[in-house]
C-alpha cells in the first residue's frame, strides 16, 4: 500500500492562548518571504466557522493551518502533491514539516506549546486509503513500525476509531516525549 497525501496534526498543549490575528500576520510574513519549503500562496481566515480550520496558510504542494476541528487546536500539515520515496519517507516528511512550523510558532508566540506525546495522521485520499478494515489491516503495521523506528518511541495507544465516512487515519499517543525540535532540524 502506497501512502500518499499524508495529513498530520500536532496538538496544542492545553488551551490555545494566542491571538489568531497575530498568527495570520506571521503567516502573511511567511508568504511574503517564502519562508517554508513549499510555494506559499495565501492566508485564509476561517475563525468564524465553529470547529473549523481557523487560520490557514495555503501552499502549492501543501497547506498548513492552526486547525480547530473537533474543538481541539493543532498545527496541521496537509500534503497535496504526491511524493516519491517510501511510506516511511512520506510520513516522516509530513511530521517533520509540521514540527518545523510548530517550532517556529513556539518561538514567535512563547505562550504557544505543542504536545510532545500525541499526534494525528490521516491519509487524505479515499481512493488510496478508504476508511475500512482492509486499509487498517494494511496500514497499522506500517504506522507502528514508523513510530518505533523512524520516530524512535513506542506508541501507547493508536485510536483508529472514526466516523466510517471520514478519511482513514488515527490518533497516536506516545509513551515518551517526541523531540519535535530535533525532528524539525532533520
Amino acid at each position: 500500500m502506497e501512502l500518499q497525501h499524508v495529513r498530520v496534526k500536532l496538538f496544542v498543549d492545553g488551551e490555545l492562548d494566542v491571538d489568531l490575528e497575530k498568527v495570520m500576520e506571521t503567516f502573511h510574513g511567511w508568504v511574503a518571504n517564502q519562508s517554508l519549503p513549499e510555494l506559499l500562496i495565501d492566508v485564509v481566515d476561517y475563525r468564524h466557522v465553529p470547529h473549523g480550520p481557523s487560520v490557514m496558510l495555503i501552499g502549492h504542494e501543501a497547506d498548513y493551518g492552526l486547525d480547530n476541528t473537533d474543538g481541539r487546536y493543532g498545527l496541521i500539515y496537509n500534503r497535496k502533491s504526491a511524493l516519491d520515496g517510501t511510506n516511511d519517507d512520506r510520513l516522516a516528511q509530513a511530521i517533520r514539516s509540521a514540527a518545523k512550523v510548530c517550532t517556529l510558532l513556539e518561538v514567535e508566540f512563547p505562550s504557544l506549546k505543542f504536545s510532545l506525546r500525541e499526534f494525528e495522521f490521516t491519509i487524505n485520499d479515499r481512493a488510496i486509503a478508504p476508511n475500512n478494515a482492509e486499509t487498517k489491516a494494511a496500514c497499522e503495521p506500517i504506522i507502528t513500525a514508523f513510530v518505533q523506528g523512524r520516530l524512535g518511541v513506542a506508541s501507547s495507544n493508536s485510536n483508529y476509531d472514526r466516523d466510517p465516512r471520514s478519511t482513514f487515519g488515527a490518533t497516536i499517543s506516545l509513551e515518551s516525549d517526541l523531540d519535535w525540535a530535533a525532528l524539525a532540524a532533520q
Binding site: E21, Q34, V49, R126
Partner: protein, 756 residues
C-alpha cells in the same frame, strides 16, 4: 495533484450517468491538450469556465505583501487562460439547481472539500456550492465523484445558462401559489447543454419564485424570472407563471420587466428556448459590459422584444421534451419522513428558544416546520456537512435546500422533533439563532479569493457579525429585521442593491496611502420580492464602517415614525441627511504611523493595496487639485441621486453627466492644467487623447467600458431623462469616478509617462 486521480474513472464507471461521463472525459482530454499547448489559452479558459472551473486571486502570479507586489514562483508551464498560471489554485463552482440537496450529495461535497479543497464548502448567493484552492488536474476526478451523485458542474460559469435558482420554501411555503420545484427541475434539464444556449455573449440566469411578495427566490432580478400564479377560468383553477425578463444586478442593475402575466406551464420551455435563441443571435458579443439580456431588451424596447419572442416561439420545431419534462409533475411532491407533530412546551434553553423564534417557519402542511441553518458567511466544514446529512436522514426524507442568503434549510421537520433537531444541529456547531436577521450577513468572496475584489467583504461581514452577535437579542426588533449585504466591488455578487443596508468595496487615497473603503448603499428593499434597488450614498473607510452602521441604526431607532420600515424611513429623511450623519467619518484619517491598522483591511493585516500599489511619488499641487475636483465629482453624483429621489429625472441625468466631465477633467488636469469643464468637448477630447487612445484608462478586466460611459453620455447628454435612464446615468457616473480613482492610483504608483 492527487495521486489517485486515474482511479476514480474506473471505480465510478457504473455510477456516472453516460451523458456526464462523456462530458467529463471530453474535459479531461481538453486539459491534456492544453497542457501540451495544443489548444489556444482563450478557448481553454472558456472551456473550463463552462465546467465551473474558475480563476482565483493571485493566479497571475503576483501578490502584494503590503509594501510591494511580489512574484509567486509558479512553475513555468502553459497557462490556464490569459495571465493565469497552470499551477495556481482556482475555484470550483458546483451548480445546485434550486439549492436542492440530498444526504448522499452532502456527503460527497464533504469528501471533496476535505480532499481537494481547504476543508470548507461555501454556499453562494445563487445556491451554488464553491470549493476553493482546487488544482486543475484534480477537477475531472472531482467531477466524476459529483456526477456519481447526479451533480454536474457543467455551465456553472462562463457564457452559459447558470444555475436555475429557486425559493428554498417552494412546496412548503404558506404563501406560494403552488410548488414550482418540478418546473425548476424541468427547466434545468431542458437548458443544460441545449444547442440554442451555447452562443451567448454573457451569462444567462433563470430563477423561480413561489409567490410575488417575498424575495426568497429573487425572480425579479434575473434574466428570466418565473413566479408561480394561479388563475381561475370558468371556475377552474389553472396553474401558470408570471414571466419577467431582463433583470440583473451588477454594475448597471435592472428590475426585470413583465413578458407575460400568465404563461401556461406547457409554454415555459419553448419560451425559454426562444429567448435563448434571440439572446444568442442578437445579444451583444463584443462589449462584455453590454452583453446581458437586459441590454438587448433596452435596445429593442419591451414591445419589440415580446414580438420577437412570440415570432421565434412560433418558428420552433416541435420538441417532445417541452411536455415530457413536465408530465406527471404532481407525482414529484416531497414526502415527510416522520408524522406531523405538535410543538413541545419550550424549556429554559435560551438559545434554543431564540433559535425557534428566528430559524423556524411553519410549513403550509400542518404539523411541520422548516429549519434554517444559519451558516457564518455561507461556510461549513466537511464534518458539518455530514452532520446535516445525518439530521436530514433521521428527521426528514433527505430534503435540504441551499438559500440565496447563503444558508441551508431543512424541510419537513415534524414539530415534535424540533428540540431533537436543534440539539443535533447545536452539537455540530450549527445551532446559531438569528437566521435571516441583521447578524446573518450575506457577503461575496471579495478580496479573500475573487480576482476583482477591491475590499474585504468577508472580513467586514465577520466583524459586523461578531459585533451584532454580542448585542444579540437586546437589539430592537426593528434592527433585527434589517438585511445587510456586502460585495467586494460594484459587481454586486453580494447583492448589496437589494439590502436594507448594502456595502460595496471601493478604494480611496488618504494621507498619501490607499485606504480600503465601502460605499454605503441605501434605498434598496429586500421586502416585496426585492422591490427596489439602492444607490450609493457615501464611501466610508473600512475600519469606520461599524461606527457608520451604529449611527445609521441608532438614528433609525430614534427618528422613525411608529413602525416605519427602514426603506420608507430612508426615503422620508433623504440621503442628504444620512450623508451628513456620516460625513465626519470620511475625513481626518489618522497619521499612518499612529494607526497603521486604519490602512489595512479587515482580517488582512497587510498594508492595503490593489495590486502592487504602494506609497506614491506624486505630491503637492497636482494631487490637491485632483482631489478637489474628484470630491466635486462625487458630490455631483450624490446631487443627481437626490434629484432622482425628488422625481426630477431630467436634472438627475444632466448632473450625472456633469459629474463624469468633472472626473475626466480631474485626470486631464494632471497633465494639462488649462482644461476647463466650461468646454466639455475639450475635456472629452483631451481625456480621449491622453487616457483612452493610450489605453492608460483601460481596466484590466473591463477594458474600455468605463470610458465608453463617458463618451456615450457626452454624445447625448440629454438622453437620460426618464427615471430608468437617469438611474443608469448615475450608476455609470459612479463607476466612471471609481475608474478615475483607479487610473490615478496607477499613475501615482507606476509613474506612467503620460505626456502626449
Amino acid at each position: 495533484m492527487k495521486a489517485s486521480n486515474p482511479l476514480w474513472k474506473e471505480r465510478l464507471a457504473s455510477q456516472v450517468p453516460e451523458h456526464l461521463a462523456v462530458e467529463i472525459d471530453t474535459f479531461e482530454t481538453e486539459i491534456e491538450l492544453r497542457s501540451q499547448d495544443k489548444i489556444d489559452e482563450k478557448v481553454f479558459a472558456e472551456t473550463r469556465l463552462r465546467r465551473g472551473v474558475y480563476g482565483q486571486r493571485y493566479d497571475n502570479g503576483q501578490r502584494s505583501d503590503g509594501n510591494e507586489s511580489k512574484t509567486l514562483a509558479f512553475a513555468d508551464k502553459v497557462t490556464k487562460g490569459p495571465h493565469t498560471f497552470w499551477d495556481a489554485p482556482g475555484m470550483q463552482r458546483i451548480k445546485i439547481p434550486f439549492g436542492g440537496l440530498n444526504p448522499e450529495q452532502l456527503e460527497v461535497l464533504a469528501d471533496l472539500a476535505e480532499e481537494y479543497s481547504d476543508g470548507i464548502a461555501h454556499v453562494t448567493t445563487r445556491q451554488d456550492i464553491q470549493l476553493h484552492f482546487i488544482h486543475i488536474e484534480d477537477t475531472p476526478a472531482l467531477m466524476r465523484r459529483l456526477a456519481a451523485v447526479n451533480i454536474t458542474t457543467r455551465e456553472a460559469c462562463g457564457n452559459s445558462v447558470r444555475n436555475v435558482t429557486g425559493c428554498p420554501y417552494m412546496g412548503v411555503c404558506q404563501d406560494e401559489a403552488f410548488d414550482a420545484t418540478p418546473y425548476a427541475r424541468a427547466l434545468t434539464a431542458f437548458l443544460l447543454g441545449h444547442p440554442d444556449a451555447q452562443n451567448f455573449g454573457r451569462k444567462f440566469k433563470p430563477s423561480f419564485s413561489g409567490c410575488s411578495q417575498h424575495a426568497c427566490g429573487l425572480a425579479q432580478m434575473h434574466d428570466l424570472g418565473l413566479t408561480a400564479v394561479i388563475r381561475e377560468v370558468d371556475g377552474v383553477e389553472q396553474r401558470g407563471f408570471k414571466v419577467v425578463v431582463g433583470g440583473g444586478l451588477g454594475a448597471v442593475p435592472r428590475q426585470a420587466k413583465v413578458l407575460d402575466e400568465f404563461m401556461a406551464p406547457e409554454e415555459m420551455l419553448p419560451t425559454a428556448q426562444a429567448i435563448a435563441r434571440l439572446f444568442g443571435r442578437h445579444g451583444e458579443k463584443k462589449i462584455r459590459s453590454r452583453a446581458r439580456l437586459k441590454f438587448l431588451i433596452e435596445k429593442w424596447g419591451m414591445d419589440k422584444f415580446k414580438e420577437e419572442v412570440l415570432a421565434e416561439r412560433a418558428k420552433l420545431p416541435e420538441d417532445p421534451r417541452w411536455t415530457d419534462l413536465i408530465a406527471d409533475i404532481e407525482a414529484d411532491e416531497e414526502q415527510p419522513r416522520n408524522p406531523p407533530g405538535e410543538m413541545p412546551q419550550l424549556n429554559g434553553n435560551v438559545q434554543m428558544n431564540h433559535w425557534i423564534r428566528t430559524n423556524l417557519r411553519d410549513q403550509r402542511q400542518d404539523g411541520y416546520v422548516t429549519a434554517t441553518i444559519a451558516l457564518p458567511l455561507g461556510d461549513l466544514t466537511p464534518n458539518q456537512l455530514r452532520s446535516v446529512a445525518d439530521i436530514a436522514r433521521e428527521f426528514t426524507n433527505g430534503t435540504v435546500r441551499a438559500t440565496v442568503e447563503q444558508n441551508l434549510v431543512l424541510r419537513w421537520i415534524s414539530k415534535s422533533d424540533v428540540p431533537a433537531v436543534f440539539q443535533a444541529l447545536d452539537a455540530a456547531g450549527l445551532g446559531e439563532p438569528g437566521a435571516c436577521s441583521v447578524s446573518d450577513i450575506v457577503a461575496c468572496p471579495g478580496t479573500d479569493t475573487c480576482k476583482l475584489g477591491i475590499s474585504s467583504s468577508r472580513g467586514l461581514a465577520a466583524e459586523l457579525r461578531n459585533r451584532l452577535a454580542i448585542k444579540g437579542v437586546q437589539l430592537d426588533q426593528a434592527i433585527q429585521d434589517l438585511h445587510i449585504k456586502i460585495s467586494g466591488c460594484f459587481n454586486s455578487c453580494g447583492q448589496h442593491h437589494v439590502a436594507d443596508i448594502g456595502f460595496y468595496g471601493v478604494s480611496r487615497t488618504m494621507q498619501g496611502y490607499k485606504v480600503p473603503h465601502f460605499q454605503v448603499v441605501l434605498g434598496g428593499q429586500w421586502e416585496e420580492n426585492a422591490g427596489s434597488y439602492g444607490l450609493p450614498v457615501v464611501a466610508i473607510p473600512s475600519k469606520r464602517v461599524p461606527e457608520a452602521l451604529d449611527r445609521i441604526t441608532d438614528f433609525y431607532l430614534r427618528s422613525r415614525e411608529s413602525n416605519e420600515r427602514f426603506p420608507k424611513f430612508i426615503k422620508r429623511i433623504g440621503k442628504v441627511r444620512v450623508r451628513e450623519l456620516l460625513d465626519d467619518l470620511t475625513k481626518d484619517a489618522p497619521e499612518h504611523d499612529a494607526d497603521p491598522t486604519f490602512y489595512a483591511d479587515w482580517a488582512d493585516p497587510r498594508q492595503y493595496s490593489i495590486g502592487d500599489i504602494g506609497k506614491g511619488e506624486c505630491a503637492g499641487e497636482v494631487v490637491t487639485q485632483y482631489e478637489f475636483e474628484m470630491t466635486a465629482a462625487e458630490r455631483l453624483v450624490f446631487e443627481a441621486q437626490v434629484q432622482l429621489d425628488e422625481d426630477d429625472a431630467a436634472a438627475a441625468g444632466q448632473t450625472g453627466y456633469k459629474a463624469m466631465i468633472k472626473a475626466a477633467k480631474a485626470l486631464v488636469l494632471i497633465q494639462y492644467d488649462d482644461v476647463t469643464e466650461d468646454d466639455p468637448d475639450e475635456v472629452v477630447e483631451e481625456f480621449k487623447e491622453r487616457y483612452y487612445d493610450t489605453e492608460y484608462f483601460f481596466d484590466p478586466f473591463a477594458g474600455a467600458k468605463f470610458a465608453d460611459y463617458l463618451f456615450a453620455a457626452h454624445e447625448s447628454p440629454n438622453d437620460a431623462s426618464t427615471p430608468d435612464s437617469a438611474r443608469t446615468r448615475i450608476e455609470e457616473a459612479q463607476l466612471f469616478i471609481e475608474a478615475v480613482h483607479t487610473c490615478y492610483n496607477k499613475i501615482r504608483t507606476v509613474g506612467l509617462k503620460l505626456n502626449v
